[in-house]
C-alpha cells in the first residue's frame, strides 16, 4: 500500500542522529513488547510479511508520532485481535484497570491537598 511507511525520498525529517551507547531497550515495557511479539509470532498464526503489513496499516499520524516499540505494540495488538487471541475490549479494559491501579498507588499531590 502507498502508506506513510514508504518514506524513501521524503524531505523534512532532519538528519538521522545515532544515539551514543544506545541501549537495546529504553524502557522495561519495550523489552516486554519485543518478547511478546516474538513469543506470539512463534504460534505461527501469521508470517513475517503479514506482520509487516499489519504495521503498515497504523494510522499515518500515529505512525509518524510513534517510537519504534510503540509501533511494535500497535502491530502486536492488531494481530492478537485479528487472530482471536484477545478482543479489543479486553485490551481496553486491562489498560483502564492498570490506569486505576496507578492512580491508587500514586502518592498524594501536595498542591491538590492544599486546595
Amino acid at each position: 500500500m502507498n502508506g506513510v511507511h514508504d518514506m524513501g525520498g521524503m524531505h523534512g525529517f532532519g538528519p538521522v542522529v545515532p544515539e551514543r551507547d544506545e541501549p537495546v531497550f529504553h524502557a522495561a515495557w519495550e523489552r516486554r513488547a519485543f518478547s511478546l511479539t516474538l513469543a506470539m509470532g512463534a504460534w505461527g498464526r501469521w508470517n513475517l510479511d503479514m506482520s509487516r503489513f499489519a504495521l503498515e496499516q497504523m494510522p499515518p499520524a500515529a505512525y509518524l508520532g510513534s517510537g519504534y516499540y510503540e509501533k511494535w505494540l500497535f502491530r502486536l495488538e492488531k494481530l492478537l485481535v485479528e487472530h482471536g487471541f484477545v478482543t479489543r475490549e479486553e485490551i481496553e479494559r486491562r489498560v483502564a484497570d492498570l490506569r486505576a491501579e496507578r492512580r491508587a498507588e500514586a502518592p498524594p499531590d501536595p498542591a491538590k491537598e492544599a486546595q
Binding site: M1, N2, G8, W43, N47, M50, F53
Partner: protein, 118 residues
C-alpha cells in the same frame, strides 16, 4: 498440551522464521546480471517491497540473490509464489533527476514480479 508454546522453543521458531524467506524451489530466473530492467508502475493495496521511488524506473540487474518467498502474496495469505530476487542498480539521476550526483547509484532488492525487460 497441543498448541502450547514452551519458552525453550521460542528461539528455535524465531530463527526458523528468519531463514524461511529463502526457498530451494527450482524456479528459473527471468533475468541475469547485466540485464536492463524497468520496474512496474503498480500501486497494490496490500504489502509490497517495491518502494514508490523506484516504480516505473529503469535499472540494471547487478546480481541474483536466489529464490525467495514473494512478500506481496505471502502477506495476504495467498501463497509463497517462489521467485528470484535481484539487486537492481538505479542511477541516482534516474530516481532523483538531473540535480543528483552523476556517479551515485541506489541498489534495491527486487522480486521477479516487480520487473519487466527494459
Amino acid at each position: 498440551m497441543p498448541g502450547l508454546l514452551q519458552a525453550a522453543d521460542v528461539w528455535k521458531r524465531v530463527v526458523w522464521n528468519r531463514r524461511a524467506a529463502r526457498l530451494d524451489d527450482p524456479v528459473a530466473p527471468r533475468f541475469e546480471p547485466g540485464d536492463r530492467v524497468v520496474t512496474r508502475n503498480v500501486h497494490p493495496l496490500g504489502h509490497t517491497r517495491l518502494p514508490r521511488y523506484v516504480r516505473g524506473r529503469q535499472g540494471v540487474v547487478d546480481r541474483d540473490h536466489g529464490v525467495f518467498i514473494f512478500p506481496d502474496t505471502h502477506a495476504l495469505g495467498l501463497g509463497k509464489k517462489p521467485q528470484h530476487v535481484y539487486s537492481v542498480r538505479f542511477a541516482a539521476r534516474e530516481l532523483w533527476g538531473p540535480a543528483a550526483p552523476a556517479n551515485d547509484a541506489v541498489y534495491v532488492d527486487l522480486w521477479d514480479d516487480y520487473l519487466d525487460p527494459a
